[in-house]
């Protein structure tokens, strides 16, 4: 990761040396740089919110943006450090029973909510109760606690809570990172779904000043915070939907950070005057792009067919041409930043001739001379769904279409809006689709690849069913010993790569720009800039103007 920060810095020095000879080296910047090495308290950080939050109620959050906001206001029971290792959050210590079903958390005795009340074990139980209550509509978070046993979940004393599960799952522990504890004395009153969308009382380092829906969210650091108080005095989230507007806003200094579309980032990162003002950062998140093959379709049921189709995917051109080198190829479901990743699995190389041979051996020939292979009178042709609104997806699909044509395979690209596309995909009414996943820190792939998890139960909408994979997935999620679990998942990784329920396309890096007045910016493996500890709460602002 350091390489990527260093590289732009070198480019900057080189360019700066060439173009800016007439300018005298400024002594004031040297002084500033000296000041900046020491964290400084104060200032207001302006962040961009790409889409307004659906709620400030932390258990009703839907998207990553929601989480980025509530992260400041609430503290999870456990957090991740920059190596994705669990560290203390609201809980300063914990024990796990040998059978892996009972978690005992010892809350930080100093922890208080922003209204001054102490955080109690009963608040944790209350929050868990809300999460698993279907009428509370905690769509996203509830699935992580489906195995909870509420009858055995209780406060032992004011600061100790036991959380019990009906089943021991290795992935369970990381779910406590989603447990943002609510104060019972506030959230038990009124309508839970309606009354807490614009207000918040939490145990986080900041307290809410105001939320103006579709416009801004303003928060201020707590002077009575019980943990390490962050440097930045106030954080303002500005809702800016348009990427173009956000880019102009960050250039002008209206906001301090924004994610940037790949093409803009690649084009502008070498602009010397911009680089003086903005840091161009990129990192690999726990996300990847893939092609989902509907294995219920007879055409795509054979893994040899799926492999042949994957051989027509010119990943190098996609990475070089579409991402300017800022993406990487992956060989299977787990990403290189996860411990479950299996380094030894080869990436399927682009090989049209090899694909042709493979298809021939499956009985596909161009018997009628129309340039498309056929078998039993049927052409090798299928539909390829992409989502509207993504130029990137469009280019990938067209590139793929052209390569497939050389191999004698025809695809019809169908551009659908997000919800329509998922309607068809979840119903199994599709052939292939170009999609992406945003993964959880814990690698358990149960909902995606276990044969019991076809829709509507899970998201195995490729209808992958393998006895070996099922066994490994079940073992992996029950194995509490990390080193044994690693071995299981690495085997699963190789098996999935061999079966090709997906064609893994790329892992594009996420691209951001951050104003250089923001200091202390670090990136964590897999999580990048945000949502680990201290991450954004470790930043500080220099005196330099925006």
């Amino acid at each position: 990761m350091n390489r990527w920060i260093a590289l732009p810095a070198i480019v900057f020095l080189l360019l700066g040396g060439g173009c800016r000879q007439r300018e005298q080296p400024s002594t004031s910047t040297a002084v500033l740089a000296q000041d900046d090495s020491q964290p400084r308290a104060g200032g207001t950080l302006y962040r961009r919110l790409q889409s307004d939050v659906s709620s400030l109620n932390p258990i009703l959050t839907l998207s990553r943006y929601d989480r980025m906001v509530v992260q400041y206001l609430f503290t999870p029971l456990i957090q991740f450090d920059e190596n994705l290792k669990p560290i203390e959050g609201l809980a300063s210590a914990w024990d796990i029973s040998p059978d892996g079903r009972r978690y005992t958390f010892h809350l930080n005795p100093r922890a208080t909510f922003s209204d001054g009340q102490p955080v109690r074990a009963s608040d944790v139980v209350f929050t868990l109760g809300k999460i698993v209550d279907p009428s509370a509509e905690a769509v996203q978070i509830a699935s992580g606690f489906e195995q909870i046993d509420m009858t055995q979940t209780k406060a032992i004393d004011d600061k100790t809570v036991v959380v019990s599960f009906r089943e021991a799952l290795a992935s369970q522990f990381t779910q406590f990172n989603n447990l943002l504890v609510l104060p019972e004395h506030v959230y038990a009153k009124g309508d839970f779904r309606k009354d807490f969308n614009d207000t918040a009382v939490g145990s986080g380092p900041y307290k809410l000043v105001r939320r103006v829906p579709s416009s801004e969210i303003v928060m201020q650091v707590r002077d009575d915070y019980w943990g390490t108080t962050p440097y930045i005095a106030a954080v303002v989230f500005k809702v800016i939907l348009s990427d173009a507007t956000a880019w102009n806003a960050v250039k002008r200094g209206d906001i301090d950070e924004t994610s940037v579309p790949s093409d803009v980032w690649m084009r502008e990162q070498n602009d010397t005057s911009l680089k003086k003002k903005l840091d161009f950062l990129r990192y690999y998140g726990l996300a990847y792009n893939y092609i989902a093959w509907n294995s219920r379709k007879p055409l795509l049921a054979d893994k040899r067919m799926r492999r042949a189709l994957a051989m027509c995917l010119d990943i190098r051109s996609i990475i070089g041409g579409l991402y300017g080198g800022s993406a990487r190829a992956i060989n299977g479901h787990f990403t290189p930043d996860q411990w479950a990743y299996n380094q030894g699995v080869p990436i399927i190389e682009y090989d049209i001739d090899g694909a042709k041979k493979a298809l021939t051996s499956l009985g596909w020939f161009d018997r009628d001379g129309d340039g498309i292979l056929d078998r039993n009178g049927k052409p090798l042709r299928f539909e390829f769904i992409i989502m509207s609104g993504s130029a990137q997806a469009q280019s990938v699909a067209q590139l793929y279409q052209a390569s497939l044509k050389q191999a004698g395979v025809a695809i019809d690209i169908a551009v659908l809006d997000f919800t329509s596309a998922f309607q068809r995909i979840l119903a199994g009414n599709y052939d292939a689709s170009y999609l992406s996943w945003d993964l959880e820190p814990d690698p358990d792939p149960y909902p995606l690849f276990h044969s019991s998890q076809t829709p509507p139960r899970g998201q195995n909408f490729v209808f992958y069913a393998s006895k070996d994979a099922d066994r490994l997935i079940e073992q992996g999620r029950r194995e509490l010993d990390p080193s044994k679990r690693t071995v299981i998942y690495q085997e699963l990784h190789a098996l999935l790569a061999d079966d090709q329920p997906y064609a893994w396309v790329t892992q594009p890096s996420e691209k951001w720009v951050v104003n250089r007045r923001v200091k202390g910016v670090k990136m964590a493996k897999g999580l990048g800039l945000f949502l680990w500890h201290p991450a954004e709460t470790g930043w500080w602002l220099s005196n330099a103007p925006r």
Binding site: L62, N197, P213, S242, T419, S420, F422, R424, L426, Q459
Partner: protein, 328 residues
């Protein structure tokens, strides 16, 4: 006269019901529902009991006809339900955004009319002259420029390069602390770019419409007669021709009013203007049925109101409309 208005209103009510049935059927026939949306945006598993609860809560499990009548019954009491996505009452969301869209669009259309109509009228008077040809070329050129591109150019020049105008939003952060005049100036500053982006394309519509209306009238005998009587050119144009050209202009008004509340997705997105256009767009994307239906009612009512108002104005402006009404 009153009978005519009452009859017009009854027709409008029937049309309104028709619109709601059609929209309801349309939006539910688009593939996917809010549950699909939830499932699609999530990389992890979703809790089935929770999804079922949401489905039940929003009556998505009932037959469509039953859902429609339930919705109609609530809508009759101006209760449009609760957004499935952000859980806010739809009425509250709409009331929050309508004034913003209305403000922006009224000024933009007002500006376009204030520039477009006089130029159109003058063009009609001297067809083929420089003003006529020149304005036609310029207006059509403007009309054909895509709004998002113009918006970005305006932004780049006025906000990024010159730093004169704010980039996005509706008011400055310190708006509430400003005095009355300061607040007005602040508002105005934030309005300039979105108003320009919305107005430039409308110039052509207003100018060409008024030109056509006036040039129809100006060729008629009574204008020649007025001129023959020695009436000044200004008087001929504005008093004699202008009044008679009113009828087509009323039609234009009827066509314009619905736009005032429906908003523009592009302008609202680029300038982060918290209006109806964006809300409509989002509600369709996320299959937020209650919000989409509420907004449909809003635009339908505005459209019907405008067309009824236009008809009533016709009957004032042109006795023949009224008489025809009586004969039937």
């Amino acid at each position: 006269m009153y009978a005519y208005i009452v009859r017009r209103l009854l027709y409008a009510l029937l049309t309104f019901l028709g619109i709601t049935v059609a929209t309801f059927a349309l939006i539910h026939s688009v593939p996917g529902d809010p549950i699909t949306f939830y499932t699609g945006i999530s990389g992890s598993n979703l809790s089935t009991p929770v999804l079922e609860a949401i489905r039940r809560e929003n009556h998505l499990d009932e037959p469509l006809v039953q859902q429609y009548f339930r919705w109609l019954g609530d809508a009759a009491t101006l209760d449009f339900g609760r957004s499935i996505i952000d859980r806010r009452p739809v009425r509250e969301r709409m009331l929050q955004k309508v004034p913003n869209t209305l403000l922006l669009n009224l000024i933009a259309f007002g500006l376009a009319a204030a520039i477009g109509i006089p130029i159109g009228v003058w063009s009609a008077r001297r067809p083929g002259r420089l003003l006529d040809r020149g304005s036609a070329v310029i207006f059509f050129l403007l009309y054909s420029l895509p709004a998002f591109w113009v918006a970005l150019l305006l932004m780049q020049f006025f906000s990024v390069r010159l730093g004169l105008l704010p980039l996005y939003g509706m008011t400055a952060d310190d708006h509430a602390q400003l005095g009355a005049i300061g607040r007005l100036a602040d508002r105005a500053k934030y309005l300039v770019l979105p108003v320009l982006t919305l107005a430039y394309a409308q110039l052509a519509i207003f100018a060409r419409f008024s030109r056509a209306a006036v040039s129809d009238v100006i060729r008629q005998d009574f204008i020649t007669a007025a001129r023959a009587r020695g009436a000044g050119e200004g008087k001929v144009l504005w008093q004699h021709a202008g009044r008679n050209a009113l009828l087509p202009m009323i039609t234009l008004l009827g066509l314009t009013v619905p736009y005032l509340v429906s908003g523009s997705v592009i302008v609202e997105e680029i300038f982060q203007w918290d209006g109806i256009g964006l809300l409509y767009f989002e509600s369709i994307r996320t299959r937020d049925y209650p919000t989409a239906m509420g907004l449909t009612v809003l635009t339908a009512v505005a459209t019907l109101f405008a067309s009824v108002a236009a008809d009533v104005l016709y009957s004032f402006a042109d006795p023949r409309v009224r008489l025809e009404g009586r004969r039937r």
